[in-house]
């Protein structure tokens, strides 16, 4: 949640923009990188492997990491699914390695029948698979305080979207029953700090998933292996990883993570609490900061839009500093509380300009400007920021934050 040291990554980006065939170079016209004849192999290739690997030419597409977090390289990815190994991560107490044979989930508190589920129990239960985004509450906080990120991963990289598979929490609560006084559920992780967040029972009965798989295979350790909560559309922190206990309560537990942290302090001195939903937001990822356009002409402008309240209904882009907005094409199908990929074909005349996207969700909510957010919340409520993100394109094609 703090800005990482980006010196290494910036030098990589500069490398990429010099036409080595990855990332920003993908924006270059095809003939710009065609200095060598195309390769076709004259040797017998490698044998089959039990677990796949990436082309060595893709090794620079990695998370931007510091000790406690890894940011998704949004500018290097396609479509709406983040590869599991590039999904963002935040580790408040490091990454535990848990043996699923010894892992259990206890549901107790205000239930009719306290129960312990083993991983085998969970895998026998009726499952669902859903595509949902996850976003850290503090994603793009730098934009709000006026120190914007230079690249999409720096500005918005605590953000990813994958397919999650698991048991609806409603099914588990049907097994235990709920006492009439049940209002909140405390979810606790098995990490050494026992991170714990309170969630309203209504959300648990709506769409929360007790997930054991991501993108078709078991969760990665950094994503909560062997089991985690997926709380669609809500701030990343409540999607408790390494889940081992759900305690049903008649009140929120008021843990440190829902009082001292993840609360939004207003200029009045009051702070908003239980600000769960991540509101509609979008960002252009190509062309974007850290990349370079190779002269005037046609470029595909593409980015991501998402809303914690439902489906994205529209995305508009501007390439003239906001004087006019154009309707972008949305990739179908559009999933609820998931990435929506947008695309628009831009013919750049070569003049300096600023570009941005803004989205609307199915509730009619439209992504606000930074100025509107600051007017409503001041500068200290840095979580849950969803303002419009601007990039500046200079005459030499270099793109920076604006």
């Amino acid at each position: 949640m703090r800005p990482a040291d980006t010196r290494h990554k910036l030098s990589r980006r500069q490398l990429l923009s010099s036409a080595t065939g990855l990332g920003a170079a993908a924006l270059l016209p095809r003939n710009a990188s065609a200095q060598q004849p195309p390769e076709a192999s004259n040797e017998l290739g490698l044998p089959a492997r039990p677990y796949g690997f990436r082309s060595p030419f893709e090794k620079d597409v990695v998370r931007l990491v510091d000790s406690g977090s890894g940011r998704t390289p949004l500018q290097d990815l396609q479509g709406i699914i983040t590869p599991s190994a590039l999904h963002y991560e935040i580790l408040h107490f490091g990454m535990p390695i848990i043996n699923p044979a010894h892992h259990e989930l206890l549901i107790d508190g205000l239930v009719e029948r306290p129960l312990i589920f083993t991983m085998k129990d969970l895998e026998r239960m009726p499952a669902v698979s859903r595509i949902h985004f996850l976003e850290c509450a503090g994603n793009s906080w730098r934009e709000q305080v006026g120190n914007p990120g230079n690249t999409p991963e720096e500005s918005h990289g605590l953000l990813s979207c994958t397919e999650w598979t698991g048991v609806p929490l409603a099914v588990l609560l049907e097994q235990t029953g709920l006492k009439p006084s049940a209002r909140w559920i405390l979810a606790e992780g098995a990490d050494v700090g026992r991170l714990a967040r309170s969630l309203p029972v209504e959300k648990a009965l709506d769409d929360i998933i007790v997930a054991y798989a991501q993108n078709g295979e078991a969760l990665r350790p950094e994503q909560g292996y062997p089991v985690r909560l997926i709380v669609p559309g809500w701030e990343g922190n409540v999607n408790v990883k390494w889940l081992h206990r759900l305690e049903v309560l008649d009140q929120p537990a008021m843990t440190a993570w829902e009082t001292g942290h993840y609360t939004d302090l207003l200029p009045s001195g009051k702070a908003r609490q239980f600000t769960f939903v991540m509101e509609a937001k979008s960002v252009i990822v190509r062309p974007a900061g850290g990349q370079r356009l190779d002269g005037s002409g046609v470029y595909e402008l593409t980015g991501l839009a998402w809303s914690g309240r439902g489906k994205i209904s529209g995305v508009e882009v501007t390439v003239d500093g906001g004087r006019s907005w154009q309707k972008a094409e949305l990739q179908e199908p559009i999933h609820t509380k998931a990435f929506t990929r947008f695309r628009w074909t831009w013919n750049w005349s070569g003049v300096e300009t600023t570009i941005a996207s803004r989205c609307t969700d199915e509730t009619g909510y439209r992504q606000p400007t930074r100025e509107q957010i600051i007017a409503a919340r001041g500068l200290n409520a840095t979580d849950h920021y969803n303002g419009i993100k601007w990039w500046r394109v200079r005459t030499d094609g270099q793109i920076t934050h604006a």
Binding site: L106, P114, V192, G193, E247, L249, M254, L265, A271
Partner: protein, 179 residues
Amino acid sequence: MRRLTFLGLACLGVFVTSLHGQQKQLGLGHTPSMQELREWKSTVLPDGSGLPPGSGTPAQGKRVYLDKCSACHGDQGQGNEPPAPQLVGGIGTLASSSPIRTVGSYWPYATTVWDFIRRAMPYSRPGTLTADETYAVTAYLLSLNKIIPRNAVMDQKTLPAIRMPNRDGFVPDPRPDVR
């Protein structure tokens, strides 16, 4: 919220019926023994439920704190950010342009201090403090923040009775607040 609860329960009924046909009870999972329930330490709530027997004073807490906490948080709780936050001071600054959010100035419940220390501190070895040590360190931090007197004893009864300076500092989420 109430209406949502009703709707949620109604939807759950339809959902479970359609998902499992007639069978809601899957017969999976087992009933925890008292021993198993004890192995999961219980959460401490603002009303003090979940607090174990034991007690501690600021003087006792200072010894534990200097031994196990001060390397990161400083000997007066001044912090070393990031990652070790400031623990003392800031009371009265929340409405200023440079608010200082600490256990003393920002956290609304003293029980949360106890719960967090028990769960997550010391950062390198969480869960190693005894109940008495946790009461004592909590007492020391509250005393440094001048929320309790130096000779106060913190236990199951006195800790939940403390009124933190920012107890009424939180409001519900009004969003969407910008359109």
